[in-house]
């Protein structure tokens, strides 16, 4: 009966009741862990005392595989890390290789990469929004999110033949030119989605239950966000300006103007609002670029066997989850000597214990949803 007493009067000194912490395994097969993530929870009644992530259930050692593969092949492996921003992952590797080779990339490629990158971000946030609602118990959001994501996937499918793991980028440019319908359909999507974000707000954001669940939960201070290496919307929800697109612009992002979504509250609601805001910003970026995609080549020729000069190369990009870093050490051969992917999810999951302790089980699930983790991104 101890648990009931505590739930009703959490502040009361329950000296009459023997309090006992217990241990519970959340995952690796659990609906809220979004994949094969295992959390070892220490719980007192409903209150979380400790969260310890146990990773590696889907670790494929991509970094080791990269040491075996050529630079063109590495690109394909990165799709399988954060599969929801596969295009941006590809882009990161391509940018690193291009930087090392000092290739001059045509503007057309840069603009297309940026547009597709932002579409990817919207698609990822759509899925996140749907799943976020589901995690707090509003099952309908899932289908709304997927409806809009579907349109983006159709655009991708038409242009590059794949919907999720797109492999559209190659070192030196793009695999193919864009489909003739690309511009038209992207514009259609932008017009469509502008009417849908307010719908999202009506369905979930304004809901009183939702607000009560999110506000003041899982608070992350700015200092902690930096110290934990948080990035992406998680860090921006804490007021830490960390958008790689702003601070280290790549591709065509230096040609567009957009606002970095920032909130200072640091709670789950702030992280939620940052992502909603980001969808608007991405739409604005797409709108600025879609009408003036420059003419030109869609790739520059590279050698069939790419050999990077000896040295170390680091490139960071902003995926839908935060800062993805690609660190390539080359000894001048056709294979990289060492590849390290600094994945945003890995750093973000490390702060889960910090922000979830003291909350209820329901809070943990909601907080985890606002971290927007993708397990293959953590495990790589």
């Amino acid at each position: 009966m101890k648990t009931e007493t505590e739930k009703i009067a959490p502040t009361a000194t329950n000296t009459n009741f023997k309090s006992e912490e217990y241990f519970i395994n959340m995952g690796p097969q659990h609906p809220a862990t979004h994949g094969v993530l295992r959390l070892l929870l220490t719980i007192d009644g409903e209150i979380i005392k400790k969260v310890e992530p146990d990773l590696g259930y889907i670790h494929r050692s991509i970094e080791k595989m990269c040491e075996r593969d050529s630079y063109q092949q590495i690109v394909h492996l990165t799709d399988r890390m954060d599969y929801l921003s596969s295009h941006i992952n590809n882009e990161a590797v391509c940018l690193t290789v291009e930087k090392a080779l000092q290739l001059e990339i045509p503007d057309r490629v840069k603009v297309i990469r940026t547009i597709i990158g932002e579409l990817t971000r919207i698609a990822s946030h759509c899925l996140w929004w749907g799943v976020m609602g589901m995690d707090v118990g509003a099952l309908t959001t899932y289908f709304y999110g997927f409806r809009d994501r579907e349109m983006i996937n159709d655009i991708f499918e038409e242009t590059c033949g794949a919907r999720l793991t797109m492999n559209y980028n190659i070192p030196g440019g793009l695999m193919w030119d864009i489909h003739p319908n690309f511009v038209k359909r992207t514009k259609e999507f932008v017009a469509h989605f502008k009417t849908k974000i307010p719908e999202y707000d009506r369905l979930l954001t304004g809901n009183i239950i939702f607000q009560k669940r999110m506000k003041g939960v899982g608070i992350l201070s700015k200092e902690d966000a930096i110290s934990f290496g948080a990035s992406g919307p998680v860090a921006r929800g804490s007021g830490y300006s960390c958008d790689v697109r702003k601070h280290h612009p790549y591709s065509a992002l230096d040609k567009v103007t957009f606002n970095e979504a920032l909130k200072t509250e640091g709670d789950s609601m702030a992280r939620y609002q940052v992502r909603i805001q980001e969808m608007w910003e991405s739409l604005s970026i797409i709108e600025q670029l879609i009408d003036n995609i420059p003419e030109g080549d869609y790739k520059v020729a590279t050698n069939a066997v790419i050999k990077l000069p000896k040295g170390e190369y680091y490139q960071k990009v902003e995926t839908a989850r935060g800062e993805l870093g690609v660190y390539i050490v080359s000894t001048g051969t056709k294979n990289p000597y060492r590849v390290k992917f600094r994945s945003p999810g890995f750093s973000n999951i490390s702060l889960l214990n910090h922000i979830a302790v003291g909350g209820k089980i329901g809070d943990l699930v909601a907080t985890m949803a606002t971290l927007d983790i993708v397990v293959p991104d953590i495990d790589r």
Binding site: D224, S241, K310, G311, E312, Y313, K340, R342
Partner: protein
């Protein structure tokens, strides 16, 4: 701060005792460094480098200024980089374990969220049997998980790490998969 200024400043924190004895007055040196007591002990042990600083700087083959530091100075240097008001490297965005063939090492990528300058710190050891470095997770909390990852895949241990155990691998795993000499005939496809 640009790379030259950074190099000058950071280099001054770890003056090489051999050079300082020859050129600079000892008292001045003590004043300029918070870590003088620590350095007094180290003076005896470190003699092999002839360099104005105990750190070696390079910009070759990398876009960032790279510092190679000795393991014994690692924690003091990192602490300075984070807390010194002129450097303020408060964002450790990447921590990479490396197997250089003969040596094992770690590469730290640092950025300052205040000044937006970036820096790479490298630390290496030749001890492949029992490599140990000081943990930096009291300086940057993100290091806790990253160091565990390095422990998993390179077998590098960290002093003062609060929870150093396998993060990805199972507890009974043998060998360190990302080392160059790791062999697994079943799972590794070599082309």
């Amino acid at each position: 701060m640009n790379n030259n200024e950074l190099q000058e400043l950071i280099g001054s924190w770890f003056p090489n005792p051999e050079v300082t004895i020859a050129s600079v007055v000892v008292e001045e040196n003590k004043e300029s460094s918070d870590l003088s007591t620590e350095k007094d002990e180290e003076k005896i042990t470190t003699k092999e480098v002839i360099n104005p600083s105990l750190l070696s700087f390079t910009e070759e083959g990398s876009e960032f200024l790279t510092i190679v530091v000795k393991p014994e100075h690692l924690h003091a240097l990192m602490n300075q980089l984070k807390s010194n008001p002129k450097t303020r490297f408060d964002y450790l965005y990447c921590l990479t374990g490396m197997d250089w063939g003969k040596e094992l090492g770690i590469v730290y990528h640092l950025e300052s969220t205040v000044y937006r300058h970036q820096l790479v710190v490298k630390v290496n050891t030749e001890d492949r049997e029992n490599p140990v470095f000081d943990s930096v997770c009291d300086i940057w909390k993100t290091a806790e998980f990253h160091e565990r990852e390095v422990f998993d895949f390179f077998g590098i241990k960290f002093n003062n790490h609060p929870n150093l155990k396998y993060l990805f691998l199972t507890e009974e795993w043998e060998g360190y998969p990302l080392r160059k000499d790791y062999v697994d005939e079943v799972n590794m496809v070599i082309k």
